[in-house]
């Protein structure tokens, strides 16, 4: 038996989650409604194939993990992957992405993108607040301007777009 370290445990959980995914695909395939129209190969067939394939691969992965063959992230030296993930940096980063998702439509692109840019820079250790706020805002305004005005790609308007008089005219 291998020694159960954090790395082994983490990967075992990943492998089990993957097995669960495979089983779920199979469950979805077996409970699929019957097609109203006749087809020689029903949509079930392909889903079953993929479900069985995934389950099979998941079992192979579990065997690998149990034999101590852990995955090593590309570009890292052996042993480096065992480092504990930096939860704090990750949390700030993920929160910055979530802010974008929540704020984009109600507050407009410039507000959402500035906050995300600032948040990610903060997560990665930047502490020059004034400079960062300025750069985040300029970045967001430039991107908004190039995409919305230059390339005519839709981006939601909001607080700053109205303040700056950039918002598109409401039609009708």
């Amino acid at each position: 038996m291998i020694k159960v370290t954090r790395a082994v445990l983490a990967e075992a959980i990943f492998a089990l989650a993957f097995l669960l995914l495979g089983s779920f695909v199979l469950y979805d395939a077996f409970t699929l409604e019957e097609p109203g129209v006749y087809s020689v190969v029903s949509p079930k067939t392909f889903e079953l194939i993929i479900g069985f394939f995934t389950t099979f691969v998941a079992l192979l992965l579990i065997i690998q993990v149990l034999r101590g063959k852990l995955g090593i992230a590309e570009g890292t030296e052996a042993g480096a992957a065992q480092l504990r993930p930096d939860i704090k940096t990750m949390s700030i980063l993920l929160a910055s992405i979530l802010i974008h998702i929540v704020l984009l439509e109600p507050a407009g692109y410039i507000a959402a993108a500035s906050l995300t840019f600032f948040g990610v820079a903060y997560a990665f250790g930047s502490r020059k607040f004034l400079k960062d706020i300025l750069i985040s805002f300029v970045f967001a305004v430039v991107v908004y301007f190039v995409f919305s005005k230059g390339l005519r790609i839709f981006l939601p308007d909001g607080i700053f777009e109205n303040l700056l008089g950039l918002a598109r005219e409401v039609e009708g």
Binding site: E11, F14, F18, L21, G22, V25, D28, L32, P35, S39, V40, V41, F46, E47, I50, F53, T54, V57, L60, L61, Q64, K69, L70, G71, I72, A73, E74, G75, A81, P85, D86, M90, I92, L93, L94, I97, L98, H100, I101, L104, A113, T116, F117, F118, V120, A121, A123, F124, G125, S126, I135, F139, A140, V143, F147, L151, R152, I153, F154, L155
Partner: protein, 501 residues
């Protein structure tokens, strides 16, 4: 009309002032994004896809071809000066190139990479123009069962030959196939794996999947391993140009690299790193300066860089002629081309002849523009490497989210990107490659269509899948490819044991 006439017509379509401007913009953006550390060609193209959404097809294709070559070239600059190759194809370049930069010969390394990429791109695009229509003509005779075999072959080789572990490649492939299943079935409209979510019934947007795994996943991974140490960018001292001796030592590796890279792109052998490794070891064997290898031999940059670029052009042959992408970059090109309602495949050269020849002409133009814009501007590109890491990641994240949103103007895609970005982090963390996933998402639905057509043709007799010459040949080759290394190892292992005794 002969193909040459069609190509000339393609050139006359492509060479308008407006198109050239888009081409220049594409070269500029492609190099810009490609130089940024951590962004390989595949992600560069995915990130720049929204830029082409509102441009007319011809201009967009030209821009794309330029982005394609620009991103390829930008990646090599990063690996020479920073020693953190953004993608597998540049790993070898960084071995010798980074050593050259350390010895104060960064300029020569960058120039031989640029010229080598240009020469390889030029020759490979000529070969592409000749090979793709011929292959497409052959492909018209391929039956659905043959297609199924081809795709299964691509899945198996890309899934098992890439990366360090076969099982992990297959994990990636199956997740990709599952993503491809989501949504209403093309034939019967029955929803699979969509959890009653309205947006999911249209299927998962491939570009969102790519951005999540290549951009967000990567940034989350960097965050998880955040240690406050900065990169060391090597300076480009002295002259940028290479001298006569460098040139004399470079031109043969360029040509050999092209000869190795292009054919390996056509067969779905999986991964652009294999031809670069082969080129590297070939140059090492043939070189008169063997002692310099490992300490900055120019042949070790010239050959693999040419092989890398020729390989990228070679990959376009099965992409255009069969609709079969065999690398992540090609897969994204496929999505981009489909966005203009053009379906790559055997019919492409008949249905969309003007457009496809414009694309091929654009590749020539993009390749040339790249040389014109890159060599003089090399010092500006290098400045990009000095962008602080926190701004770089902030930019990648924000831009990735923009790309995910603007495809459908939907926050569903953003929420999806958030979740998939985290899965992408887990993939990175556990050493699971991304390319098989991308192929699975894109080719999964394609193989299902062909599979159904094959079985419908035979009225439900599944043995049609292995009947006919082509499927038989492909499956036999596949078995050989998959099990030959294991057999070799077994034989070698026994021989090794014998020796030790």
């Amino acid at each position: 009309m002969g193909n040459l006439d069609l190509l000339l017509e393609g050139f006359s379509n492509a060479l308008t002032a407006q198109n050239l401007l888009y081409g220049l913009l594409g070269t500029f953006l492609g190099t810009l994004v490609g130089v940024l550390p951590g962004i390989g060609p595949a992600l560069a193209i995915a990130l720049l896809l929204p830029v082409t959404l509102s441009v007319d097809p011809t201009s967009a294709l030209i821009m794309f071809a330029a982005v394609f070559y620009g991103a390829m070239y930008g990646g090599s600059t990063t690996s020479i000066l920073l020693n953190t190759p953004g993608e597998a194809g540049s790993v070898i370049t960084s071995v010798e190139g980074h050593k050259m930069a350390r010895n104060g010969r960064a300029g020569a390394a960058l120039t031989t990479a640029a010229l080598g990429s240009f020469v390889a791109g030029l020759i490979a695009t000529i070969m592409l123009a000749a090979a793709a229509p011929a292959l497409a003509e052959l492909a018209l005779k391929v039956q659905p069962a043959g297609y199924v075999a081809l795709i299964v072959f691509a899945f198996a080789t890309v899934g098992t030959l890439l990366g360090s572990s076969r099982v992990r490649g297959l994990v990636s492939l199956s997740v990709g196939l599952i993503f491809g299943l989501v949504g209403a079935d093309q034939q019967t409209g029955i929803n699979r794996l969509s959890f009653g979510i309205q947006e999911a019934t249209d299927g998962l947007e491939v570009i969102v999947v790519i951005i999540s795994f290549f951009a967000l996943g990567e940034v989350i991974y960097y965050a998880s391993r955040f240690q406050d140490k900065s990169w060391q960018v090597l300076p480009v001292k002295g002259k940028v140009w290479m001298d006569r001796e460098d040139f004399r030592r470079s031109w043969k590796p360029w040509l050999r690299g092209t000869a190795i890279g292009f054919p390996m792109g056509i067969i779905p052998a999986g991964g652009s790193e294999i031809p670069t490794f082969i080129s590297y070891s070939a140059e090492k064997k043939l070189s008169k300066h063997k002692d310099e290898f490992g300490n900055g031999a120019i042949e070790g940059v010239a050959g693999p860089e040419a092989a890398n670029n020729a390989n990228a052009a070679g990959v376009l042959v099965p992409l255009l002629a069969l609709g079969l992408p065999t690398s992540a970059t090609a897969a994204i090109m496929l999505v981009a081309i489909r966005n203009f309602n053009i379906q790559p495949g055997p019919m492409l050269f008949e249905m969309n002849a003007p457009l496809v020849w414009t694309l091929i002409a654009s590749l020539f133009i993009g390749n040339t523009l790249l040389l014109l814009i890159n060599l003089p501007l090399i010092r500006i590109w290098i400045q990009l490497l000095h962008i602080p890491r926190h701004y770089l990641y902030a930019g990648i994240t924000t831009f990735g989210l923009l790309g995910a949103y603007s495809l459908n103007n939907s926050t569903f895609d953003l929420r999806l990107a958030f979740v998939l970005g985290f899965v992408g982090y887990l993939f990175r963390r556990f050493g699971i490659p991304n390319t098989p996933l991308v192929l699975g998402v894109i080719l999964g639905p394609v193989v299902e269509i062909q599979f159904r057509q094959a079985v419908q043709l035979s009225n439900g007799d599944y043995s049609i899948l292995v009947s006919g010459l082509l499927p038989k040949v492909i499956y036999l080759t596949l078995i050989l490819v998959l099990f030959a290394p294991a057999l070799m190892k077994l034989v070698k292992g026994k021989a090794g044991q014998g020796l030790r005794k």
